[in-house]
Symmetry: D2
Subunit: 337 residues, 4 copies
């Protein structure tokens, strides 16, 4: 860690700061320029609070040299992590395809979609039972009943299930859930992350709308620090000024996360763009740049297919996506589906 | 609500959509252009899911005409809300000044700061007991003990206390807390908001780092829809590309929130900028543009005033801020402190 | 175009507004809700100034139904545009690969890179002669001499050349340049765009750092309105809060621009990420989601390969990228390289 | 300047890099941690290209310690700059108020507004003659005729005039213009900045929509490096995800720019928000946080006051703003108007 001191800092102040740093068990390296002195903090700086240091009157800025994440850090775990999920896995040479409806609405809906996505090559079934909605007046999901329906679909199709948790108190309902999803809005709900760290379930951690990759990895670290190393990272778009898409999908996150961490990385093109027509090109792009899988919304309930205007991706359109993704994966080699 | 249909939409599709809209209890107005037909949905559209509508194949875009928030909406509650807090209040002609340490660290620290900020004109004492930290390895606060220390300081100084909640399960610890703060990272922790809606405590709701004003008001709506109308909004900066400040303080939020809502609006210049030197000018600007109060970090623990580099705002610097703020308020009239 | 009027607007005000709209040659459709009246402006609204309308006291908001771009609009030109460039082209079934050094530095450098990128499958040579630099103290390019060196390289290799213009007064120097690039910082330098609209050269128009896709297309429209329809669009990243990459590459721009416009779209992964290691995965992703080509920086000057730390992409690494891109293109079919 | 080397960098590579740094006339300080070596470059690093250094294979990241701007830097010019403009000035204890129409439309309009804003306390007249418009089909301004009308208004009222330049070739038209404005879209039109550096006119430089404060100061540096030190900085909002306002006004820029630079800083609340109702609160906030002046749009052409919906700020509303601003300035002392 490097602290740049303001011009005008006195020798006494520098000595006092140096003593304090040594008290934290670190070495001090000083480099004096004509205007600024630079203080190097050498040793295990992961316990040092950079914000506290930066708030000192004599400090102009602070820069971390080592990343503050340890368990998630590839430097200390060079091999890719492979997360086992039921009869399949995420990471390594498996390309995970999690597909299903945005919200679980009825037994008929879930079963029909589950069979359809399995036929099209999905490796897991996703579906929302607890739904985070911007408005308290919007449909909040079937909750416990929704999870029951997912478990039935799992029994019938054999597909492991992925669904979102919004409250650690609901954990008992998730016993037969295979992968617990933490949504973008809860990426920094640290109380929830800590509770999930005490389970041994695979956790699918979505990047927050305005969170850096470092913050995403620090949130993974919250889960891993509790003892649960089964974390799957998910890029799902960040918020920008562009209005044609709901969010801006940041695909450079995929190779960067692979470089920084050993955890598998999947991409959710449905929520990132909010536009069904963009799911296929973005799914192909995600596969091409090294994602370990995809999460895709598929909808097939005729009762809700309003007014001839079929909603989101149909099972047929989804099958078209998975076929094209397989072609890209096969062209690039290395990952099987 | 307005839905713009894609060019090429057939008459049958328009009729089907119209029937569905009428089934929701709304009237339909059609306006046909050369390329596009525009469908007006007239009536109470707050229950209509705009995203669902936008996801239809025949729909190019959707625009809400009425805001989806009701309880927080000034249109239905033209008078300013005044939130009573102990012997003081937020809103109306009271300018609230919430001041205190970032983290509660010790009895001596809290007491000394509490007395100092009271002398300088603070109307409430703030202090962190549960601390949301990006890293699991950073100090997470004194928790229940921190709340105890705040309550002691309240007894001694008479200042109502404000502190952050991170988990609805901790609510029993907050019984003697006067204002419960929801931090920026939890602005869309809807499960927490719902629980707070079942209490009658004043809630200080901070804007998320990448949340629009509409989303902030929808989160207020979550609390109010549960029956708790005592919501105080807080602008504390949004995330941008600028790196000199931790966040970019959006002061236009103050007059805009006053226009959209009857709820009081305060500003937190300390967290918005992350730079103690910027607290005074931003506090003055907030007062000048109509904020109902300020939340300011004040630190005075000599044991932590590392290396002669005094941390954040000292009580003296804080007194200088409040004096200048009073001058601005008095020049503009209308709000007393 | 739709204008939503504020609640409280009087009948006389609505009639006055309607008269004014009819004077502009448009029809008026009124839709009255309980709180708001919505005014539809039907006809050719491309000449209507939406900002002027929005600034009226009685207007709450304005929404364009038709895009304000005409010449660039796919609705009026359903077929893909193919831009001829020397002996090759951009668009259609040609995948363009523009490669070369960031800055032209010497004859030896340009020649050696030109031969290397040609061998690796580049279809054009790119190189900076006029360099936009944030600092006036940074190297500003070889200017006219740099263009001379590019022309020599073109003569020797047959590769058409692409280079950036920063000042319309320099146009005489660009006579033998095949594609004139407009950089991100000049995307809304409307005076420059107008001058380029008077030429018949292919123009490579880069998206600005904080510009929407609609603004990019409006800038293309400036060139096309002048008579020059040879515009190539280029996505090169937008500015966000993320700091691991220089910019955030927005690949959803590729399919969206294809939907909105008939103009070809290429991607510049080098400038978007600022990280040589990310060029290959992002190039593959761009090819997979339908880009019509790539612009890639290649550097091979041993005199500048400082301290064993080879800079940016070497010709060998570039050849590896183009080989992998060919595999993706061939797997997806349709585009040959 | 600090360069953090990647783990695994060899001693030979470090030595080669060190030799190269010394060749640039700088000293090298090495600080070796367990994982990373940090290289300090000590001396005048303003000529070092940080991007080049960062692109080296062995370099993980680079951090500037000294700002790369010199002429604009307060460290080397501790006293505030005061820019003389006709019979008034910007900076020091003068609070500049530049007011007038968005576009110059007619003699009658300019004269009537000029007299009105002078009566209300404006110190300069602003008006657009060359207008940068997103669409080529929108009104582009009266151009040379517009400048003529401004000069007439100056003769009649004695108010110095401010107007925007879009093309250095138009400079001869600006001889009697007192302050030449560079718009946000041209903030990094370096060719234009260089030309303006060769004049001795005061330049009003607006911050670009997605430009950092450092980039704004580097653009000021372009003008000053050419010999023209008469630069006025202008904050006018940056682009964010918020949609209620056109841009997000970043008022923390005001005290930060004062800290970093000796140049005066004004604020344009009209363009920042795009909402006339927000001009007054944001003008007051700007005055309260230390701005040296304001630029405000005032409109008073009855022929364009469409349909009873008076456009933007009227002269009366402007007079109300300036009166309130005077109260804030007087309360805070130090600046007279």
């Amino acid at each position: 860690m490097i602290a740049v001191l303001k011009s005008g800092t006195t020798e006494t102040q520098i000595e006092n700061l140096s003593s304090w740093i040594r008290l934290q068990g670190l070495e001090v390296h000083l480099s004096r320029g004509s205007l600024h002195t630079v203080v190097g903090l050498v040793g295990d700086t992961s316990k040092i609070d950079a914000e506290l240091l930066e708030s000192l009157d004599i400090v102009e800025s602070v820069k971390r040299i080592s990343e503050p994440f340890k368990s998630a850090n590839r430097k200390f775990h060079p091999d890719d992590s492979i997360i086992s999920v039921g009869n399949t896995s995420v990471g390594g040479n498996i390309f995970a395809v999690m597909a299903g409806p945005c919200s679980v609405e009825s037994e008929e809906q879930v079963m029909s979609i589950a069979h359809a996505v399995k036929a099209a090559g999905a490796t897991m079934l996703r579906g929302g039972a607890f739904k985070p909605r911007t408005s308290p007046y919007d449909f909040q999901g079937l909750k416990a009943d929704g999870i029951e329906l997912l478990i039935e679909a799992k029994k019938e199709t054999g597909l492991p299930i992925v669904t979102e948790i919004m409250n650690a108190n609901h954990l008992p309902l998730f016993e037969e859930v295979d992968v617990i999803q933490v949504g973008a809005r809860n990426m920094q709900n640290f109380e929830l992350l800590k509770e999930l760290g005490r389970t041994d379930k695979p956790i699918l951690l979505k990047r927050g709308l305005a969170n850096t990759l470092k913050e995403l990895l620090m949130s993974a670290e919250y889960i891993m620090a509790g003892g649960n190393e089964n974390v799957i990272l998910c890029e799902r778009g960040v918020r920008t000024f562009e209005t044609y898409t709901r969010n801006t999908l940041d695909l450079s996150a995929v190779p960067l996360l692979h470089e920084l961490s050993h955890l598998p990385v999947i991409v959710d093109p449905s929520h990132a763009t909010g536009v069904a027509r963009l799911v296929k090109p973005m799914a192909l792009a995600a596969a091409a740049c090294g994602a370990n899988g995809l999460m895709i919304e598929v909808h097939n309930d005729p009762a809700h297919a309003l007014c001839d205007g079929a909603q989101s991706l149909t099972p047929d359109a989804f099958a078209d996506v998975t076929a094209a993704v397989r072609q890209v994966l096969s062209a690039l080699g290395g990952i099987k589906q």
